[in-house]
């Protein structure tokens, strides 16, 4: 009697898929360097467009968040391109693996890209444009960006899957992603802007102030969109 091989468990499938994603990115370096370079270029563009040597408060939060959002759109657009062009989808469909593993692996890979992007872009922003010191704001900024990354990664994975097998993929990705990500922009820029002011509040005062509301909004967004994307993702991978 031939031995029947059990389909891989969710955890091992997820590990294998995530490893593949990161390995492909490490070997091709297609997304992350481009995203980081793009972010630094956008800071330079903002410097000339605003004609300001240094910015703080609302403006600083807006510039940082918009730059990160635009740079993440580049990553979102490229997330499934290799799978669509080089048969990755077909290979995945042939394997007896839960589609949610692919969703989780792609979202985790995107979070990884976003973290590297922020490791480059946030210090570059502090050096090039920010008028105040970043150090006192850093824990708060990290917390807000972590929640924002989660939302961008889940929504971005969905948008990327929707757009990648259409004729106008480069156009549709950003068109779909921008309105969907506006709540993330509202939440994170409103939360960060007091921290980047000339006289930032202490972290405790910031948390007990208006920031709590924005963090709850971001967490709610992550939860709602996480559930939606989890529910609909299987339907995108049927052929």
């Amino acid at each position: 009697v031939p031995a029947v091989r059990q389909p891989p468990r969710f955890g091992s499938a997820l590990r294998a898929l995530l490893r593949k994603e990161l390995l492909v990115e490490l070997r091709t370096l297609e997304s992350v360097p481009g995203m980081s370079l793009f972010a630094v270029s956008v800071f330079v563009v903002f410097h000339f467009a605003l004609n300001r040597a240094s910015i703080d408060g609302d403006l600083a939060a807006g510039v940082l968040l918009v730059t990160l959002l635009l740079a993440s759109l580049l990553g979102i657009n490229r997330l499934f391109v290799a799978d669509a062009e080089q048969g990755g989808f077909d290979g995945f469909l042939l394997a007896p693996v839960n589609p949610t593993a692919l969703l989780a692996a792609k979202a985790l890979a995107l979070i990884g890209y976003l973290l590297v992007l922020e490791l480059v872009a946030v210090p570059a922003f502090a050096l090039l444009l920010l008028g105040t010191s970043l150090w006192p704001a850093l824990p708060g900024v990290i917390g807000v960006l972590a929640l924002a990354d989660l939302g961008v990664a889940t929504t971005g994975t969905l948008v990327s899957t929707l757009a990648v097998r259409t004729r106008a993929r480069d156009l549709l990705g950003p068109l779909l992603a921008l309105p969907l990500l506006i709540p993330v922009v509202i939440g994170s820029s409103s939360a960060i802007s007091p921290l980047l002011a000339v006289h930032p509040p202490a972290l405790g005062a910031w948390l007990s102030g208006s920031a709590a509301r924005w963090l709850v909004l971001l967490a709610l967004y992550d939860l709602v969109f996480g559930l939606i994307v989890y529910a609909v993702f299987d339907f995108l991978l049927e052929d």
Binding site: L158, A168, L180, V224, I228, V229
Partner: protein
Amino acid sequence: VASSRRHPATLALATCLTLSLALALVFFYAPIEAQEGFLQKIFYLHVPLAIITLCGFVCGGLMGIQHLRTRDDRWDLRSYVAIHMSLIFGVAALITGSIWAKGSWGHWWVWNEPTLVSFLIIMLLYATYQPLRFAIEDRERQARYASVFAITAGAFVPMNFIAVRLTPSYVHPRVLSSSSNLPASMGFTFVVSLIAMTLLFITLWQYEIRAKQARFALRALRARLGAAEGRSARPGSERAWVTGPGLVEGPPPKQPAAEALST
């Protein structure tokens, strides 16, 4: 669905009567508002339009769920038409809202009105529904992806309203935001207008579905005629919308998707 076979003439008649009644109430029964004067009457048009638009979007999402559950293409058609109609109603709501804002606040667009801003974001999102749909060649995948979009965007509607409402600069006294703080005569007129607008939406929705089904049936007949005459035309897969799934003959046609569902 029974309504798609029955001619919706009764419904159309009811819509005409209710709309006339609503307009009569707006102009001859509802009192002139003290602060804004005659201009306030646009409220009876604008607010129902906006409410119906958002309800239509959410209904489109619910029909998308039904399509993914049953794989019945008719649910996809219903979802598509609901979103298409909502887009038209939404443009009308944006225009009437702009006129109202210009009249009462002096600007065509005001950023500190959260409902207006949320509405614009939602319209921007739904404006990508048709480009997404028609950029997918495969008929079956087109329906599936459109349903996924409809569900996601339908859930985004309330989420977006919460986010924009929270913004502190937008917290300002609401101008006639609900019928609860209206005088009875205004409240009655508003409710009648809302019913009239709902009926108008449902009527137009049914008529568009019937028009599409008739066009698909005609196209399928033409294709059969062509096949019978020995030409190379093949029956179109859009027949599924008329006859239901499982009755489609032959492979899907090699025609651009935009043609399959153009308005």
